[in-house]
Symmetry: C2
Subunit: 200 residues, 2 copies
Amino acid sequence: MEQRQKSELTKALILNESFKLFYENGFKTTSVDKIMKATKLTKGAFYHHYKSKKELGVEVISTHIQKRVYEGMIKPLYEEGNALELLENTFSGRLKSFSIYDKAHGCPMNNFINEIADEEQAYQIALKRIIEEWKAALVHLLERGQQEGSIITTIAPKAVAIYLISAFEGVRGIRKLYNDDQILNDYMSGLSLYLTQLKA
Amino acid sequence: MEQRQKSELTKALILNESFKLFYENGFKTTSVDKIMKATKLTKGAFYHHYKSKKELGVEVISTHIQKRVYEGMIKPLYEEGNALELLENTFSGRLKSFSIYDKAHGCPMNNFINEIADEEQAYQIALKRIIEEWKAALVHLLERGQQEGSIITTIAPKAVAIYLISAFEGVRGIRKLYNDDQILNDYMSGLSLYLTQLKA
DNA sequence: CATAAAACATACTAGTCGGTATTTTTTTAT
DNA sequence: ATAAAAAAATACCGACTAGTATGTTTTATG
């Protein structure tokens, strides 16, 4: 196989396996050994491609996690249609699409934020970038709704955006404590209510 | 000193120091050694009072953290006065009261939830108890508001309660990514707006 | 085909982890 | 005073940690 291609394939393998392990067991307690055991490669291979575990952590965030949030929560916001319906469909729809596995382990981004964001600026910056991208998409959509007359103009889009993101990330954590979806249903009722009140 | 008193003092010391370290550095990466170094006692003393680190973790949650949430977010909800004002004062007031230290490290409960709730049922149960107590207080207050005619009766108190808790815990995490309070101000605007829309 | 570089493997370090076994010190009850 | 029990200290275990040093194999290029 071509060298460059092989290298990229290996890095992708490491990224995939480490994301999975970070998601299931947390960042700190997932050792480089465990990751490389999952890839069926060795530690030598790891330190050939990454200079440290920290570098891997940042890359997992800025590629894998960023992409995941973008696909699930940001991209749908740029579609056409009624702004409030789009919001409800995106937030509720995402929750409904989660598997038991996803529900039990919460949001990968939120897990990172709460586990390591206060320990290393590099993580902080990479995570902040995702939130900012998400916030920008929400603000854009809310402003569009206001311009189109479907959303009341008395609200500050930025404030609503932060409140929406906060509640979503919050409930993703809280769901971990329960063994059923009641809490998610309550959240979705709460969300629906909130959005209704934004209707012009 | 009386034996029983001394024992309780030592346990309290261990609880205090471990809470602080868990809060600052996380549960998993805070070792028993580090905790006991902070107490200026030894590992032998620790395992005399606790049978495992897990037992300590559960006790930190069900005493220290439970009490902290109760004092800051639950107890104030049972005071007299307009329900919506009480809600705004409690949620916003709490955020405003946080020190830089508190803001940088997020919510101790939320940190535990996101770090270890999916790994051990004992933690899950202890944490769930806090959320349930909080939720019950919110539901109680919202129902009172409805009865008194200050809150619209078209909303489901349980759903609003979960949405309020989720957003609060969510923003406590997200704040970690920033070095200023802008995000908290946005959250508080969003909250204020939300509560206004519940007004009868 | 030779040579260099990239990709990966092996073996190791010094330190940390939760937990245990054993001993010493302190306190309490008689 | 003394024996029993509680509190705490000391020393240790095997497993694990991030990272390094030094090999070997594979691939690209002259």
